[in-house]
Symmetry: C2
Subunit: 205 residues, 2 copies
């Protein structure tokens, strides 16, 4: 498959537990550039770092055409406030003010595939981005680690990775199997990008 | 109980199914004013109507101190983009940039009680606002109707109200029972405010 988009991880996601029950977190924010179209996945919550990362690439918020959010947790989307003019979509609908328009298998006006990946949240979705012979997965919280955790990237560890926020652990496992069958590189919600060691074989449910 | 906040429904929520599988929707947006503190619940997706409703009250977005979101569906929170300076919270955490701080039973610096009401979404929460001898419930999508539906407000209809988006119908029913035990007036996510006819009695699970 041909390269269809340039992929830049603008910010590597982190999640740190704080004393008192709180946390400090922002997800991996990914810039996907196709000719004439710039998509930002999971703008996150750390505005300063994001604006600075865009600036380093010679971009300003008004250069972003579309924002994709993997799921509706506030740490993943508070920075929507930095992009008053961008269109916004989740895994199913493109939102234009109060109108929500279904858009099918690819992000609107792109060749970036949307993969429904429920489990961490019911409406969680990920992106599959062909890059040369590889396929990059913008995974959101399909995979995530707290800071301090050692990201283990062998197949059994990835499938069994505990997610204490999961709303449906069985669905999460199925989503991970499907995603890892297709991805060669994974950008997780919180933690460094990784290459999974091994691929799930065809599984019959 | 004393009145602790002035309650204004700035916009009545609606949800209309469109041809082609899409929808047009924005939730009930509620302004809660305590001395020195203005809270906006569920800013919604219809920016024009919201700005106009604020203007009619002599307010601008910068007059809002805190935005509460009942749950993370985009039609409920896209208008966050109109309030770049307000603090934001959900039912558990107050978000300041990438910091999420747990805040307990009442909205930060207010006497407005937060009631966890999972079912429509796993982390859905509602607000209980004492008003004279009454208690108003800012219910988000604990109750909602599509335009064209006749809102039936007798107790059995309210408890059995179908929600095709519910992630956990059993939890939703329990949340409704607890909310209706306490509320005299309900502001639903989509549809007109109503007074429930009857109260659930004490229920032992």
């Amino acid at each position: 498959m041909e390269q269809v988009a340039w992929i830049s991880v603008l910010a590597e996601g982190y999640a740190v537990t704080l004393a008192g029950g709180g946390f400090r977190a922002s997800p991996s924010t990914v810039l996907l550039e196709e000719p004439g179209r710039r998509v930002l996945a999971d703008p996150g919550a750390d505005g300063k770092s994001l604006l600075s990362a865009l600036r380093e690439r010679g971009l300003s918020p008004s250069d972003i055409d579309l924002i994709f959010v993997t799921h509706g947790h506030l740490d993943h989307l508070l920075n929507l406030r930095l992009f008053p003019d961008a269109e916004v979509c989740d895994g199913s609908f493109l939102y234009r003010g109060d109108e929500a328009i279904p858009y099918g298998r690819f992000l609107p006006d792109t060749e970036i595939e949307v993969l429904p990946t429920p489990g961490h949240a019911p409406d969680h979705a990920s992106l599959l981005v062909p890059s040369g012979k590889e396929t990059w997965l913008v995974a959101g919280d399909l995979f995530w680690w707290r800071d301090g955790a050692v990201p283990r990237t062998d197949l059994p560890s990835l499938l069994d990775l505990e997610d204490e926020l999961a709303t449906d652990p069985e669905a999460l496992r199925r989503s991970r199997i499907e995603a890892l069958r297709r991805a060669t590189v994974v950008i997780p919600g919180h933690g460094p990008p990784f290459r999974p060691e091994g691929r799930p074989r065809m599984v019959t449910f």
